[in-house]
């Protein structure tokens, strides 16, 4: 059994807004093994992107890590000073693939300049050596090396996404967080990017957390899947298990909402209601107001993650 590269325990990250405290990540625990892809799914606003940035040690202001532990390759990073985080952890131990269709590339700098920044600032490499290395990685993601001299607006959405993937891999980090890397790309490009990431996973043995709201993509790439709801983990387990034997009602509903090619579905289901307000989440199980099986206990006590099967956990009073 391979070792854990990432161990998250009881992690809490709250946004301290002037309207109140938003519990975006609330008491989360999970692990990531070496060479494994963990898919992280949930509706928008459930805290999955917040989790991504928290793992990078840079929760978006006014967010703060309140409690818990994040161990990357055995090293505790919560509580490390910003300077150490920047110089020793970020991008070297854990990097991030941003959503490329958005503004993750600065429009006024060349692609090369932005790619080699971590090499120059963190590794102290010379500009030319760094550019060589950047070109190598660009070729790895299927782009011509001379793209380093281009500006972001000269690239297509798919090309930008590849640049961002290459940038994330440059320092060969232990963990890569992919934050909705395929959202806002058109379907054909989406498939290309997924294939690229599958290839990279195989060739480089990437350990990755793949964040998306699109469960059908996760089925393609992830070994394990975690489902988040309202800042909490509701189910985690091997992909097969999650897809074929979902234990949590929320996961079941979520899966029922995906259109499937191979099965006849009378009509797509949807989950009634809306995700709760995280300033004042419902008491007990946070899903109970939308849950068709809600019982009295659901309204009063928070369910813990329970092992339903080998390596398959879910947090529900039904189990």
């Amino acid at each position: 059994m391979s070792k854990n590269v990432l161990e998250v325990k009881n992690l809490k990250m709250y946004y301290f807004t002037n309207k109140g405290v938003v519990k975006a990540v609330d008491d989360l625990s999970f692990t990531l093994k070496k060479g494994e892809v963990l898919g992280l799914a949930g509706e928008s606003g459930c805290g999955k992107s917040s989790l991504g940035f928290t793992l990078m040690g840079m929760p978006t202001p006014p967010g703060k890590i309140v409690d818990g532990s994040i161990k990357i390759d055995g090293r505790e990073v919560v509580g490390l000073p910003e300077d150490v985080l920047r110089k020793e952890v970020r991008w070297q131990k854990i990097s991030m693939i941003f959503q490329g269709a958005m503004n993750a590339l600065n429009p006024v700098y060349t692609v090369g300049y932005q790619m080699i920044e971590p090499l120059v600032y963190l590794k102290g490499m010379e500009r030319d050596d760094a550019l060589d290395r950047a070109q190598k990685y660009l070729e790895l993601v299927g782009l011509p090396g001379d793209i380093v001299y281009r500006y972001p607006h000269e690239l297509s959405g798919g090309m930008k996404q590849r640049v961002i993937i290459a940038t994330a891999l440059l320092l060969e980090p232990d963990v890569v967080i992919a934050d909705e890397p395929t959202t806002a790309l058109d379907v054909v490009v989406q498939a290309q990017i997924i294939n690229l990431m599958k290839k990279l996973k195989k060739e480089l043995g990437l350990s990755m957390i793949f964040i998306t709201h699109d469960l059908s993509i996760l089925a393609e790439i992830s070994d394990r899947v975690a489902i988040m709801y309202a800042g909490k983990l509701v189910e985690i387990g091997d992909s097969e298990k999650i897809y074929y034997e979902p234990a949590h009602p929320y996961t079941q509903k979520l899966l029922a909402a995906i259109p499937r090619l191979h099965e006849d579905v009378e009509r797509l289901e949807f989950i009634p209601g809306q995700p709760p307000n995280l300033i004042n989440p419902p008491k007990g199980c946070r899903f109970h107001p939308r849950c068709p099986y809600a019982m009295q206990v659901c309204k009063e006590q928070i369910p813990e993650l329970k092992e339903v099967d080998k390596d398959h956990y879910a947090a529900c009073w039904l189990l």
Binding site: F53, M56, M58, T60, R86, K87, R90, W91, Q92, S95, M96, F98, Q99, M102, N103, A104, L105, N106, P107, V108, Y109, Q114, E117, P118, Y121, L122, Y151, H153, E154, T167
Partner: protein, 349 residues
């Protein structure tokens, strides 16, 4: 629209405006000149007759005949017998080619309007550029500082300062500066006119010494607005994804702010500020007059006090020219700073 085409369009537009402004000034000027020239001719002819009568006592030339003849001569000389349209056109052409004519009184040692403006213009540019560079430096520094901590003391102070300085006349602030630092404390000279007896290094020192008050005035009134503009644009930029990405990549915070954020915010900052600079140019020109700084503003003041029409026409023309140049410069700078525009140009060519 490609950038080359766009620039060509802007140049054409500027030329058109320049022509229009000159046409307007000429139309007004010729009308004004009519009145002054008529009375000037009357005086001249009367003086000529007096001189003639003195030298030829008992001469056989009839007075009214003489006057009529000479009046015709001068009318023809000044072109007053030509149709109004022709004269407007001629004045327009003359003005466009920097041929403004003579002033009535000697200024800066000459009566040639073009020459006078040639002497004054570099002084205005010296004063205004010096002040502007300081404003840009302070403004950007403070703007970035307050964008980093919105709601902080620095930020609040700047917003209040921007509001107050937006509503006070720069030239009035100059008068206050004179009151305090020249009259009350006596630290600086009241008069910014450089000492003409000094040369070389002493002259440069003298000029710099005399520039302190006017420059301080311009800087104090303008930097708040700059800082405020910079702040607002920077706050927008700091929320962009690429800032987050740069931080994640381990780029040092200083480089994130002064490299990524400021560099990305530069194009709008530059254009906005060039336009606000143009807006403040009028105030700065009047400020010159207050300090007696011998530049364009001082000329405006003299021209208005002494009704030097040719000088006003010349000043208007040069001012418009400068204004339009600065506008085109703003466009060029934008294109230079924003690669998206630059490539658009090369792609279309």
């Amino acid at each position: 629209m490609g950038f080359g085409k766009y620039l060509a369009y802007r140049l054409f537009n500027a030329a058109l405006i320049l022509f229009f402004v000159v046409l307007l000034t000429s139309t007004l000027f010729v009308k004004l000149a009519d009145v002054t020239l008529q009375s000037q001719i009357q005086e001249t002819v009367q003086a000529e007759w007096n001189a003639y009568a003195q030298h030829h006592p008992g001469g056989h030339v009839n007075q009214s005949e003489f006057i009529k003849q000479r009046t015709e001569y001068w009318t023809d000389y000044y072109g007053l017998n030509k149709p109004y349209r022709t004269r407007v056109w001629q004045t327009t052409i003359k003005t466009l080619t920097f041929n403004f004519g003579q002033t009535r009184q000697t200024l800066f040692g000459t009566r040639d309007t073009t020459q006078i403006i040639k002497i004054a213009l570099p002084r205005t540019i010296l004063l205004f550029t010096t002040a502007q560079i300081i404003v840009i430096l302070i403004g950007i520094l403070l703007g970035v500082k307050s964008a980093q901590n919105p709601g902080s003391t620095v930020d609040r102070t700047i917003s209040v300062l921007a509001m107050v300085t937006a509503s006070l006349p720069m030239w009035w602030f100059g008068m206050i500066m004179i009151l305090i630092f020249a009259f009350k404390l006596g630290w600086f000279p009241v008069n910014s006119f450089p000492d003409p007896t000094l040369t070389g290094l002493a002259h440069i020192k003298d000029v710099m010494w005399r520039m302190v008050l006017p420059v301080t005035t311009i800087v104090t009134v303008l930097f708040g607005g700059w800082a405020w503009t910079t702040r607002n644009i920077m706050i927008g930029t700091m929320q962009e994804d690429f800032i987050m990405a740069a931080r994640a990549k381990g780029v040092p915070e200083r480089k994130v702010i002064y490299g990524h954020a400021l560099r990305a915010a530069a194009p709008p900052i530059v254009t906005m500020t060039i336009f606000s600079l143009l807006g403040s140019l009028g105030g700065a020109i009047i400020t010159e007059a207050v300090f007696n700084w011998p530049g364009m503003g001082r000329l405006y003041w003299i021209a208005l006090q002494q009704n030097e029409t040719t000088l006003i026409v010349g000043l208007t023309y040069i001012f418009t020219l400068l204004y339009l140049t600065a506008m085109i410069l703003a466009d060029l700078t934008y294109a230079f700073l924003d690669p998206r525009v630059k490539v658009g140009a090369s792609a279309s060519m």
